[in-house]
Symmetry: C2
Subunit: 233 residues, 2 copies
């Protein structure tokens, strides 16, 4: 039976995201260079983000708070308030950064709509950030529905399929994160298309699942229509 | 025609929220007492929150970031990193604060369910905070649906009514904020029950609308069933 719903991830699938975090990380490391080596700052920030995840959730505000906490700890409280102001400014500039679409993003969505699929966005993170990014992306009107969730796990996907009245084998998730977009979707019996981004946040790392007929890996969104029609038969 | 959907606000309608912000504000003012009078700190924080709203949205993480920025400005950059660490800790302690239900909250929901209304939660703010508070409230299972939105305006309410397939005159919003729970709901032709909380965030202040047959004010959630049945006839 053919595919009914095609769900796209947002960050690093339709628009650039992790690259903006990486650039900010570099600026953060440069700010602390008199206090600690770049690699050390990176590791400590990651530890802090991991520790704060259960309290803060995902997103730029969470990252900004974790940077500030890391900066205070790495410098043993010697960082100046004006440098912390710089970190606040880095966070704000991430929040206002233009939403830059990945090559082929709009076409992938419009093709799917034109081919009669119900097309939705399923994106994880801060509600306010994500709505703002979506608005700036110009893609909002293309989706039948937009689902902003705090975590992409099996429970979330089960709920979404239920709400949208779609059976697992007729649902495809398209995304760049094995951990969030591929593994839990396969786990509930649905289908997935993995489109890796050139950089992955360390907390999203996962191994590729065994090859199977319910998921595939593509290198560019332009390959998506062929995958969907291969599953139509 | 009788009411079909009863929607409850969360913060300061079902559980205490603003009181936790107020307590944190007092601690913040005490921390800066050598630098500026309490009233000045309060005013500057409020200005900062207002200025940051379009960028950060609502919630505790936003408030924490605004406190830090205010502290740096009010002290002309002289605040010590360890005091900023204290502000991070204040934010974290807000995030882990137990969700304390208002008197009659659970009963108001179970009564509405027992009387055959479809009962939903419509709460504004940070997705992660709100989900976490709801989980800690123990009320989650009572709602047919939970809607966490970034802003409660006419557009949001129109979308919600549409998604839930309910006509405006059969929808009642119950909440403590005139600005978010009452005025936009009346504006789209739906009904509202205003239950004031003892303290209102300055950015939520609004005047009561003119008396009318589509809204009423109650002093305690226990008065809700009588209002709903008065609208049933």
């Amino acid at each position: 039976m053919s595919i009914e719903v095609v769900a796209f991830d947002g960050d690093d699938t339709l628009w650039h995201n992790e690259s903006i975090f990486s650039i900010t990380q570099e600026k953060f490391q440069a700010l602390l260079q008199e206090h600690a080596p770049a690699e050390h700052v990176y590791e400590r920030t990651l530890e802090k983000e991991r520790a704060n995840l259960a309290l803060y959730g995902y997103g730029i505000k969470s990252f900004t708070l974790s940077m500030i906490e890391t900066a205070i700890e790495v410098t043993d409280g010697r960082i100046e308030a004006n440098d912390i102001k710089t970190l606040l400014d880095l966070g704000k500039s991430m929040l206002t950064h233009p939403t830059e679409l990945l090559d082929g993003a709009r076409r992938a969505i419009t093709d799917a709509v034109a081919n009669g699929y119900r097309v939705i966005l399923v994106t994880k993170g801060d509600l306010f950030d994500q709505e703002s990014k979506l608005a700036r992306s110009g893609l909002g009107e293309l989706f039948e529905s937009v689902e902003i969730v705090s975590e992409k796990d099996e429970r979330t996907y089960r709920r979404l399929l239920d709400e949208h009245g779609v059976e697992p084998h007729r649902f495809v998730m398209v995304g760049n994160s094995l951990k969030s977009d591929i593994l839990p979707v396969l786990q509930i019996g649905a289908r997935a298309v993995y489109v890796p981004y050139h950089v992955t946040w360390a907390l999203e790392h996962a191994d590729e699942p065994d090859p199977g007929d319910r998921w595939t890996r593509i290198e560019h969104l332009d390959e998506l229509p062929a995958v969907l029609s291969s599953w139509a038969g």
